[in-house]
């Protein structure tokens, strides 16, 4: 079944996929935290965070969070009574905010 995609359905699909990935990330995050018991393990973690691969995945995580969070706010605003004809404008606002926050947040990550 092929059906033409548009702003609303693309936003929904991205929201779903990022949502599932972020939920899986809870496991990883708690796993890492549960191993931070003393100074040694903490230092090891900080060292690990210097590796390019981890930095790259942190950027990816930031992108997931921003995409999911900002679209979540968009959907909530629309459910609060903003008429549907504004949904595409809101989508582009969310994209612009997302890019801005990605740059602001991405710089200290690198």
């Amino acid at each position: 079944m092929r059906y033409r995609w548009h702003t609303g359905s693309i936003a929904w699909l991205i929201h779903r996929i990022t949502g599932v990935l972020l939920t899986l990330y809870i496991f990883l995050h708690l796993y890492v935290l549960s191993h931070l018991k003393d100074l040694d393990s903490y230092r090891k973690m900080l060292q690990l965070m210097e590796s390019p691969l981890v930095k790259l995945s942190e950027l990816g995580l930031l992108a997931l969070v921003l995409a999911h969070g900002l679209n979540g706010i968009r959907v909530t605003l629309l459910e609060l009574g903003i008429p549907s004809r504004k949904q595409k404008t809101l989508f582009w606002y969310a994209v612009a905010t997302g890019i801005l926050l990605f740059v602001i947040g991405g710089i200290p990550l690198i």
């Binding site: 079944m1 092929r2 059906y3 033409r4 548009h6 702003t7 609303g8 359905s9 936003a11 929904w12 929201h15 959907v75 629309l78 459910e79 609060l80 009574g81 008429p83 549907s84 004809r85 949904q87």
Partner: protein, 235 residues
């Protein structure tokens, strides 16, 4: 007159194992509709081509079909807005009966679930039950629904979850819940507040995109969500 290729998804359950595509060539004036093209094919080329149509003027909702990947009424689709090649399929997510004719029963049964009729137990007055203009204004958009089935067939949630009420039934629920004359609000709410009802709407806007009457369905559903929540919080 411009030449168009209509690529139509055909299926006859009595002879075909699976649906197949068939190309037809048809000439249309710019202001003729896609429906005129289908009628011309049926009259001049292949009488077995099957589709529904009745009023041909965007009121009956019979000729909803998927045109170039998007649900529309064939009678509201002008030739001048079409590309040279047009893909025409039956509405998706409903069982196909033949060619472009689908079984609308799953769609209508969703509407029945929300009791799409006025319920008022007061003795009927001598004249009609009156409403103020403001009370009517609240309903006027939702009343224009022609039950063509385009919205529910376009909804990604309905594609996955056939138990989902779908945009059309929720719009019907809105139409009666917000009707000042209706007295069955509690019962209606009960029928839409379940795990395959109101809360499955994720504001995807596919329904709004396709509605031939340009009803802002998603906003109506959002109003229902807020109303249901307020009722729920206050008891």
């Amino acid at each position: 007159m411009k030449r168009y290729i209509f690529r139509i998804k055909r299926f006859n359950p009595e002879t075909d194992q699976a649906p197949y595509w068939q190309d037809f060539e048809v000439k249309l004036e710019p202001m003729e509709r896609l429906l005129d093209g289908l009628l011309r094919i049926k009259e001049e080329q292949d009488g077995s081509l099957t589709f529904r149509r009745s009023c041909a003027h965007g009121i009956c909702g019979s000729c909803a079909m998927k045109i170039n990947g998007r649900n529309r009424l064939a009678c509201q689709t002008l030739a001048k807005d079409l590309p040279d090649r047009v893909e025409i399929e039956p509405l998706q997510a409903y069982p196909v009966i033949k060619d472009l004719v689908v079984d609308m029963e799953p769609f209508f049964s969703k509407n029945e679930e929300v009791m799409p009729y006025l319920i008022n137990n007061n003795p009927p007055p001598e004249r009609e039950r009156l409403q103020s203009p403001d009370e009517q204004k609240r309903l006027v958009e939702s009343i224009t629904c022609i039950m063509c089935g385009s919205c529910t067939s376009a909804c990604p949630v309905y594609w996955a979850d056939r138990q989902y009420l779908g945009p059309s039934a929720l719009l019907k629920a809105y139409r009666f819940i917000f009707d000042s004359r209706d007295q069955a609000t509690q019962e209606r709410l009960k029928r839409i507040i379940h795990s395959h009802g109101l809360w499955r709407c994720h504001s995807i806007f596919n329904c709004v995109e396709v509605c031939p009457k340009e009803i802002d369905i998603t906003s109506h559903i959002a109003a229902l969500k807020r109303f249901a929540l307020r009722k729920g919080l206050k008891g």
